[in-house]
Every structure is written in structure tokens, then in C-alpha cells.
Symmetry: C2
Subunit: 238 residues, 2 copies
């Protein structure tokens, strides 16, 4: 929340000063409320977006109308930039899920910068590769972790991973959405959270979770996983 600046956006590191200047003049910054659709799947893509505050859900709809969550991004991420490299259509829909601040700017601006600035391309490569590693882990989690473990793993990663003592975690968005993000039904989420409570001694009050130390969660959730204890490489979630 601490005022994020355009030049802090990690995926844009390496962009030229001219790029940031143009972005400031031509970019359009708006506050958007929960529920606002930024763009929809298969739409012709004109702009890319930078999330300066809040949370945005990227998703697709299946034939029967259900949603399939691609990711839920925190502030500091860009989205809707991939049509530069593809067919010019958005590969997913984007919906604001918490009050947010979003900058939009023409894809052409980013495309031209990428074409003329290898440093930016390399930096984007770096970020994509890190993201891929996170996704690999996510896919692994879906098969090796059960529902309570997935929740524990998520909570663990939301917390400051190096704090020794008691921790307080605020769930960043609705439990229903969190359930979908973790690939389970809301009912399963509710029950799994209850089980996690009795297994690890965490305390849950609404959207606030308290625990005495992270060790408990780590032991419970990370045991089955291929990564060492504090799961370093994982899709960003805060």
C-alpha cells in the first residue's frame, strides 16, 4: 500500500527513462471498485495494465459458466501485456476484486520499448522464468498437497517468511475467491480451514489469522513438497 511508483514495478526494470516519461504522460491512472471488469477474454487488446494498488483476478469461463482462475495478482504486477506476443487478443478476462488503482497504457508503447531495449526484454524474461517456476510449484501442489495443506502453504507465504514469533495474517480477499484460487469449493475451504485449525493451532477470526510461529504451518504443509522448507519459488501472492 505504501505509495507504489511506476519505477518500482519490477517487471519494468530496465525500461528507458523516455519510456517512463511517456508512460506518465500517456498512461491513464484510475481508481477501480470491486467487481469492475477491466477487459474480457478474446477482446481485441489495445492496452496493457499496471496494478498500483489492490487486487485483480485473471480468469476464463468454462462452457458451463463456471470460472477458472488463472491468477490473482497483488499490486506491483502488470497484466494484459501478453497480446504483444500473441494474436492481439486478451487470453483471459480481468476483474478487480478489491478496491484498486490501475494504470492503463497502449500496448504499442510497451511493444516499441521492448523492440528497442534488450535490457527490458531480458528483465521480462527473468520475471517470466521466475513465474514459470512458481507455476510449476503450483501444479505440483495441486497433486501432492491436500486441501488443508494448500491453505497452510498459502498462509505461510502470505506471512513474512522470516519472522520468528507470533504472526497475524489478513486474508487479502474473500474466502470464496481464495477457495477458487486454491482449486477447491468454498465448502471444502471452510472445512479444510477448520481442520488446519485443529492440526496446527492457528486461530481464525473472520479474515484475520493468528499463529504463534510459522514452524507449525511449515511442518504441516511443506512436508510433502519437493522444495525445501520455506517454499522460495512460488507464484507471487502479496
Amino acid at each position: 500500500m505504501s505509495d507504489l511508483q511506476i519505477r518500482d514495478i519490477a517487471i519494468l526494470h530496465g525500461a528507458s527513462e523516455e519510456f517512463f516519461t511517456k508512460l506518465e504522460s500517456v498512461g491513464n491512472e484510475r481508481k477501480l471498485d470491486k467487481g469492475k471488469i477491466v477487459f474480457i477474454h478474446e477482446e481485441q487488446a489495445e492496452n496493457f495494465y499496471i496494478l498500483m494498488a489492490g487486487w485483480v483476478k485473471l480468469f476464463r469461463e468454462t462452457a458451463d459458466g463456471a470460472q477458472s482462475i488463472i491468477d490473482i495478482l497483488p499490486a506491483g504486477h502488470t497484466f494484459g501485456e501478453t497480446p504483444i506476443f500473441e494474436d492481439g487478443l486478451y487470453p483471459y478476462s480481468a476483474e478487480i476484486v478489491e478496491p484498486s488503482v490501475v494504470i492503463s497504457a497502449p500496448l504499442s508503447l510497451l511493444k516499441e520499448e521492448l523492440q528497442s531495449n534488450n535490457e527490458l526484454s531480458m528483465n521480462m524474461l527473468k520475471h517470466l522464468i521466475r513465474y514459470k517456476r512458481g507455476q510449476d510449484r503450483e501444479l505440483e501442489h495441486m497433486t501432492v498437497q491436500n486441501a488443508p495443506q494448500r491453505i497452510g502453504c498459502f498462509l505461510m507465504r502470505l506471512a513474512d517468511s522470516d519472522s520468528k514469533g507470533p504472526v497475524t495474517i489478513h486474508l487479502p480477499y474473500d474466502k470464496t475467491l481464495l477457495a477458487a484460487r486454491l482449486g477447491m469449493q468454498p465448502e471444502t475451504f471452510s472445512r479444510a480451514l477448520a481442520k488446519l485449525k485443529e492440526q496446527t493451532g492457528i486461530r481464525v477470526k473472520g479474515a484475520v489469522v493468528e499463529l504463534d510461529n510459522l514452524e507449525q504451518l511449515i511442518n504441516y504443509s511443506c512436508q510433502v513438497c519437493s522444495s525445501e522448507f520455506p517454499c522460495k519459488d512460488v507464484v507471487s501472492l502479496k
Copy 2:
């Protein structure tokens, strides 16, 4: 199988002629048998690899010794190149699963080319983004498709997607491995394949699958998915 050349490797499109020349002189081409480990997870990375023929499994080991499959790549793919952008360690192990031909070359060669050639960086970005789309789909499949549907989806994508008439598909590697690749146990795979047989009328004889037309499979497998019928964007599997 039809003699692949270095210059055909899609992810290297855009590399300079000097790069390919150096690659030819300094690269080391070897035939490798099934079971051969190319490198292991967390090992210091010296080389990247190009798979000219065969299949390679990328995987990690979980605490209890089980394997978590990251991907199983067909000829034409590179692997072990990401340490360039990370900590210099391989993020997974690589094992040959069918008789293969592999070229190895120093990571520094690729790194220098990337640093001086934006066209190559852009092309790699394009490929990674396409791959990400595939992984998004893969993750979706894990939650919306059941076991027989996942197998059907896989078979469908192995076949020539535009052939109208009868199709013959050869499973590219062991069923046990295929099961792991699709995120299920061998027993489940066996039963799911049997169910797919009775539901769609495909005929299975060992590693050979025959069907009268793809429509049957498409109807059965793609119904629940967020993509239109022939699932375009998906992790490459042939």
C-alpha cells in the same frame, strides 16, 4: 524424427548466424539411452541442452522420494537454460525417457547471445508466454477434467488436430510415465483409459490407439474446458 537441424529449433529463432556457427563448433551432440540422467536439481549449471530427437523428463523429487513431473519434452525443445536468469542452479532434474539425441553447449554462449541480440530475447519471450498459456490450461485441466477426460484431451492433442478420418496414435512413452504426466496413478490411468474406451469407442492395443474420428474425443474431453474445441494453447507434447 525427420532430421531436425539446429536452425529449426523454434525457441532459438532470431539468434545470429555467428551463434549457430559457434554452437555447431562448441556444442556436443550425443546419443543418450533411456534412463540417462542429464543433470540433477540444484546442481551448478554449466550447460544448456537442445533435444534433437527423443523425449526428456523434467522432474523434482518430493521429500518421500516420489517424483513430481514438471514436463516431458519432445524433440525441438531446449532445457536447462533458465539458470541464466536465476541463481545458476538447475531448478529441476532431467532424465532421458526414450532413446534421444541431445546437444549440450555452455550457458555462457546463450547468455552472451541473449545480451547482445534483442531479436532472440523477444523470440524467447514469445515462446515463454505461449508456454505460460499452456501451463494455465494444464492447471485448469487438473481441476475441471476428470481422469478419462484428461487422457482423451492428451490423445486428441497428440493426433493431427485437423485430420477428419480415422486416426492412429502411438503413445510416446510408458503408460506409467504418462499417468504421472497427467497427474494420476498408474492404476487410475489404466481404469480411466478403459472408461474412455467404452465412452468414445477408441481402440487400444498396447501403445497404439485408434479412433474413427477426433470428434468423439473432442466432445468427450473438451466440454468442461474454457477453450473452444480444439484446445489451441497447450503445453507442447509432440
